[in-house]
């Protein structure tokens, strides 16, 4: 019995691991019934795997049996892998016992599609209902919306889940059609917007009626696989930007494709996943969401791909030297935020601190500014007088000379000359 559970857990956790979302933030559920679990607004990562990714949720598939044959997916019908399925009680037991020991922040439940979408969604719903209603579990639940499931089922699931997500898989429709001919972006958009409409609706009702149940309080997210087909960074980020705007998504995840099949349409097994590119996409995502950048400023027809050797914020600054240097004692917050080497926390502290007197270099360093990087772009109270105006390319060379990218040291594509 025990060995059987072990085996199932191994198979179904292994199959779920390519879904990168593991955040547990944004939950607002309180432990008000003296049950188990309470949400933590910023989420908690309880451990990290050896690949450096956070583990906050018990991320499993209910089953890896699937009727679809998507080339990029490890659970595709034609793949010869061990198949397994959990019972509803097994998932509930695992979740409760892991949570009680403070191993996890909650459950991330996904599933391969067996029989049909509704049948699968019903099973997922059974698990979350049992957790919430019978076990008085108030921890985090991230539930996959199964594309094609009926509206009633999705709506009911939204009452028990904290976050729901559904993956775009490929950034372009053409890419998706190539690798998963049975799927289309429209299948994703329909349930995404259905859930979004209800989130808005519940929020409206909440203003009028006090006691209204929560509906997907931590919002929705999606994921795109990058590097499986030949899309540009511009394609990826414009798609992400549109989804943030249209469906008020909390997160878009970018997952560097890890080769898992011998399919000739995609990179072969053994190819290194595009980790650096993935990192640059996340940096761009952050610039969009927290730094007030419009995506068109970072990626456009002239620059369809992100620089690999420098981050997108520095790259933007170097292309737009007309905005610099910025006087940190006078400039407005939005402009300070755009200086390479100054993040959100430092920018806020600068705006607070300069009310008490003009800031000097040593103070900026104490505040937490990466001064070696920022010095090329700022003026403060005791900036050294500089006669020469450096070109963007020169500044880039200075910065690269003193801080070589941590990735380039191990970059396997780089030939060693000497």
């Amino acid at each position: 019995m025990f060995d059987r559970i072990r085996e199932k857990l191994n198979v179904l956790a292994d199959a779920a691991k390519y879904d990168v979302s593991c955040s547990s933030s944004g939950g607002t559920r309180k432990n008000d019934n003296k049950g188990l679990g309470d949400s933590h607004s910023s989420g908690i990562c309880h451990t990290y795997t050896e690949d450096g990714r956070c583990v906050s949720l018990l991320k499993i598939l209910l089953t890896n049996h699937c009727i679809y044959d998507c080339a990029f997916c490890v659970s595709r019908k034609s793949n010869d892998v061990k198949r397994a399925a959990f019972t509803v009680d097994e998932v509930v037991e695992l979740t409760m016992n892991f949570y009680r020991r403070n191993y996890i922040e909650g459950l991330f439940l996904s599933s391969g599609i067996f029989k049909n979408a509704d049948f699968t969604m019903e099973r997922l719903l059974l698990v979350v209902k049992k957790l919430r209603l019978e076990q008085r579990y108030n921890g985090y639940i991230h539930l996959k919306t199964i594309p094609g499931a009926s509206d009633e089922l999705i709506k009911e699931a939204g009452l028990y889940a904290d976050r729901m997500s559904i993956n775009l898989e490929m950034p372009t429709e053409a890419g998706l059609k190539l690798l998963a001919p049975e799927k289309s972006h429209a299948d994703v958009i329909k349930p995404l917007s259905f859930v979004q409409q209800h989130i808005v609706q519940f929020a409206e009702d909440k203003k009028l009626i006090k006691h209204i149940p929560k509906f997907v309080p931590a919002g929705q997210s999606t994921q795109m696989v990058v590097g499986a087909t030949s899309e540009s960074d511009k394609d990826v980020m414009y798609m992400a930007s549109a989804f943030y705007k249209n469906f008020a998504l909390k997160r878009v995840y970018y997952s560097g494709y890890v080769p898992i099949s011998h399919d000739t349409r995609m990179p072969v097994i053994g190819t290194q996943p595009p980790l650096l590119r993935e990192n640059r996409l996340y940096q761009t995502d952050w610039l969009m969401r927290f730094y007030g950048f419009k995506i068109q400023e970072i990626l456009n027809d002239a620059n369809p791909n992100l620089d690999i050797d420098i981050d997108p914020k520095l790259s933007w600054a170097i292309r737009n030297m007309q905005h610099f240097p910025v006087d940190v004692n006078k400039a407005e917050y939005a402009m300070i935020l755009r200086i390479p080497g100054i993040g959100v926390t430092s920018a806020k502290k600068i705006v607070q601190a300069r009310k008490f007197g003009r800031l000097r270099i040593d103070q900026l360093k104490k505040i937490g500014v990466a001064y070696n990087r920022a010095k090329h772009f700022i003026i403060c109270a005791d900036s050294p007088y500089q006669i020469k105006d450096y070109q963007g390319t020169q500044i880039k060379a200075f910065i690269l000379a003193e801080s070589p990218s941590k990735y380039l040291k191990t970059d396997s594509n780089q030939l060693i000359l000497f």
Partner: protein, 252 residues
């Protein structure tokens, strides 16, 4: 002038009171256990006084935002020898300036306190993340920890709200006290260990029969969810520094 105090919060607040009362000019505060008497500086031992401390605490509440007050408390819990003097100077600075002075990040004491508070909050968050309970045979969930800073007072509510339906003990092995939740309230407690007990990981005999089972399942899960092709040991160690591995079931 040097003030020496007993390293308690009451003592610290009393010292602030004395400084304004006695008008000794420039004063440095130092905890008794770190104090080395020297020939050139006069020193004064500050006796903790509840009433004086209470007055200073109330005054601080008026001068600081709730966030500022929390930073002050976190700074105290850091137990770093230099932090006491920074807290002392910070308070004097706060009292001598109008409300809002806590945001002057150009001031050395404000930035120092902000740094200590950040370290303590990070340690608090790590404890919320890395504590692993083990279910004992009598149904209590036990975790032994030895955090860098004295964070038990900060994590108490988090665990009380979260594990409302199970009895638990979190024991700070370094500082020799713990928290015990009995399904109603959290109380401070001390345990007496016999010399041969392994305090951090008590023997399995004392554990619930299912304990070993779930720890194996968790270790399995930890292995299965890893993607070997993306191995990044540097990042892994950065997120989970090695000194925390002893808590983690999955790293045993």
């Amino acid at each position: 002038m040097i003030y020496v105090f007993d390293a308690s919060l009451t003592g610290l607040l009393t010292a602030i009171f004395e400084c304004f009362e006695r008008k000794n000019g420039t004063v440095t505060l130092i905890a008794e256990k770190y104090h080395q008497p020297d020939a050139f500086n006069e020193s004064l031992y500050v006796y903790s006084d509840e009433q004086k401390a209470e007055r200073v605490w109330l005054a601080l509440q008026k001068k600081l935002s709730p966030i500022g007050l929390r930073k002050f408390y976190c700074g105290y819990l850091s137990e770093i020898p230099e932090a006491y003097n920074h807290l002392f100077q910070y308070s004097i600075y706060i009292f001598k300036n109008s409300f809002g002075a806590e945001n002057n990040y150009g001031n050395a004491h404000v930035t120092a306190l902000s740094k200590y508070a950040k370290s303590v909050e990070r340690e608090k968050h790590r404890m919320e993340a890395f504590i692993r309970f083990q279910q004992t045979a009598d149904g209590i969930f036990y975790a032994g920890i030895d955090p860098d800073f004295n964070v038990l007072p900060l994590i108490s509510n988090h665990f009380k709200n979260r594990y409302a339906d199970q009895r638990w003990i979190i024991y700070d092995l370094k500082r020799g006290y713990g928290l015990h939740y009995d399904l109603n309230k959290v109380e401070e407690m001390t345990l007496s260990f016999s010399a041969e007990t392994n305090k951090a990981k008590p023997v399995l005999a004392a554990m619930d029969e299912k304990e070993a089972l779930y720890s194996i399942l968790w270790k399995d899960y930890f292995k299965s969810t890893n993607i070997p092709a993306r191995k990044n040991t540097k990042l892994h160690v950065q997120h989970v520094p090695k000194r925390y591995w002893k808590y983690l079931t999955e790293k045993q």
